[in-house]
């Protein structure tokens, strides 16, 4: 038996049974899983966790499943890298990269949420899973769904680049290309979800799916020896990851996995799509939707569903928000690769570039510990770097030609 007590409306606090529903029938507020923390506290200790395999499921009592994990049994526990080279350049004492570029099996943090969503879909008895996505989520649902024997419908905007289509279609889902942009696809999917009894991971399974993001936070604490960092910088698309990382820290504190919690949470966005960062910076209470225009396509959600809550977390913790230009994103991708040997997708460039600005502005204390969350692999967004990478040295296949180049390189 799991420890999930109910689903609860985040707006009006009405409670609902644990079912594939996602909005409050009364006020349309989002539903969130609530747990029996007293029960969890008795069984989930640092020792129990340490004895388990290094996967995202080692914190399973804090995830909204009723039985045993069924999907993504090899996912999670990505490296937490101590980034000393980068720390020197940014002028901070203690810097870590939470590196989800190497997540199994599809190289982004979406394998966390999809592992939880598909396990829950199986518990609910669904035989078909679906999602609307232009990239990482589509890859993860396609791959993890294939291994778990689920039928899959993946909806994408028809204009999507071929390389992204290949990375989904290779797993042989039913790939549906919709004549419209991403928001059109999302809207259509919520209408399809009304009609067909499928598990749409980011619609009717969303309360469960979203909880999977907490595993990134649990792992950070676990890998820091159950200490909370002073600062954590999180990229924002819908804002869900940021709110869930903070929720994971609070839960770990509540059940005694960490003794002290003082972390400030920072939101990173691209200037071309920054409704959350803009609200934080202006002190506004409302999130103004925007029409996205940025190379960080995986963060380009103009109308972020969790924007309001992400803003509230940043305020509650004393953090801040920052947005960065496309040029800064490219610079940061290259900086991370050249200093720490990690190739992040554009979203990773956003997070690092925002962290850099926050450090330079004194919003992040140089003497504290900082974790930067890198959510996806750069091999997926190589086109963003076209024309911006270092030069290739062309030579003839002889020693003289090589020595000429070596002299030019100057070493």
């Amino acid at each position: 038996m799991g420890f999930t007590k109910a689903l609860k409306c985040r707006e009006c606090s009405r409670e609902y049974p644990v079912e594939p529903i996602y909005v409050c029938e009364f006020c349309f507020g989002p539903l969130e899983a609530v747990y029996d923390y007293d029960g969890i506290k008795k069984v989930l200790t640092r020792e129990t966790i340490a004895a388990r395999p290094r996967t995202l499921w080692r914190y399973k009592e804090l995830l909204p499943i009723a039985g045993e994990p069924q999907v993504g049994l090899d996912s999670g526990f990505s490296p937490l890298i101590k980034a000393d080279n980068l720390a020197r350049i940014l002028g901070v004492k203690e810097l870590y990269i939470k590196d989800d570029t190497v997540m199994h099996p599809t190289l982004s943090f979406k394998d966390r949420v999809v592992s939880v969503a598909l396990t829950k879909a199986k518990e609910f008895g669904f035989d078909t899973v679906a999602c609307a996505s232009t990239g990482n989520l589509a890859h993860s649902v396609s791959a993890l769904g294939a291994r778990s024997g689920l039928k899959r419908f993946v909806f994408i905007p028809a204009s999507l680049e071929q390389s992204k289509i290949t990375a989904s279609v290779v797993y042989e889902p039913n790939l549906i290309a919709v004549d419209g942009n991403y928001d059109d696809v999302n809207r259509l999917c919520s209408e399809i979800a009304n009609k067909h009894r499928w598990a749409f991971v980011n619609i009717n399974i969303r309360p469960f799916y979203a909880e999977g993001s907490k595993t990134m936070g649990f792992e950070i604490l676990d890998q820091l020896g159950w200490q909370a960092p002073d600062h954590v910088v999180v990229p924002c698309a819908s804002g869900s990851l940021l709110t869930k990382v903070w929720k994971s820290f609070k839960e770990a504190h509540k059940i005694g996995l960490i003794n002290d919690l003082h972390t400030k949470v920072y939101a990173a966005q691209a200037t071309g799509c920054s409704p959350i960062a803009a609200a934080i910076k202006s002190g506004a209470d409302v999130i103004r939707p925007v029409k996205p225009d940025t190379i960080a396509k995986s963060l380009a959600i103009g109308n972020p569903a969790d924007g309001y809550y992400a803003t509230a977390v940043v305020r509650e913790t004393g953090g801040y928000g920052e947005h960065v230009s496309d040029a800064e994103i490219i610079h940061a991708i290259k900086l991370l690769a050249a200093t720490e040997g990690i190739f992040a997708e554009t979203a990773g460039g956003v997070t690092l570039a925002a962290a850099k600005r926050l450090i330079e502005a004194g919003k992040i204390d140089k003497n504290g510990s900082t974790v930067i969350c890198i959510t996806g692999n750069g091999l997926k967004t190589q086109e963003a770097l076209a024309g911006h990478t270092g030069e290739v040295h062309h030579i003839k296949p002889n020693l003289a030609s090589f020595e000429d180049v070596l002299a030019k390189i100057g070493r």
Binding site: E11, I21, Y22, V23, C24, E25, F26, C27, F28, G29, P30, S108, K110, C131, A132, S133, T134, G135, N136, L137, A138, G180, Y182, D183, D184, N186, R187, C189, S190, E191, A193, N194, K195, V201, N202, I203, R206, Y209, A210, P235, A237, S238, S240, V286, R288, P289, K291, K297, S298, L299, A300, I301, N303, P304, A305, D306, Y308, A347, T375, G376
Partner: protein, 92 residues
């Protein structure tokens, strides 16, 4: 001809299971008020004090009314209105 309004699952209990209902042309806020006369309870679920609730998206012919004139957006004969609860982005 009228205006076609698509009703999301959580509200279909109020419309007797109907996924689509008809309304007269007018501003969004007037259409909501008119729907509430026929299906009592709808207005308070999707709006509060004359404003559409934070977690409700309304589209007129596929365009979010926040990019039009919000609650005052005029809907004419033959146009379609979709009421859609905010959902998580699945782009990333």
């Amino acid at each position: 001809m009228g205006v076609k309004v698509r009703i999301p699952t959580p509200l279909q209990r109020l419309t007797g299971g109907k996924e689509e209902v008809e309304a007269q042309p007018g501003r969004i806020i007037d259409i909501i008020a008119a729907l509430d006369k026929e299906y009592p309870g709808i207005a308070e679920r999707i709006s509060e004090g004359g404003k559409v609730r934070r977690f409700v998206n309304i589209y007129v012919n596929e365009e979010d009314i926040r990019f039009l004139s919000a609650e005052n957006t005029a809907v004419s004969d033959g146009q379609e209105v979709s009421i859609v609860p905010a959902i998580a982005g699945g782009r990333i």
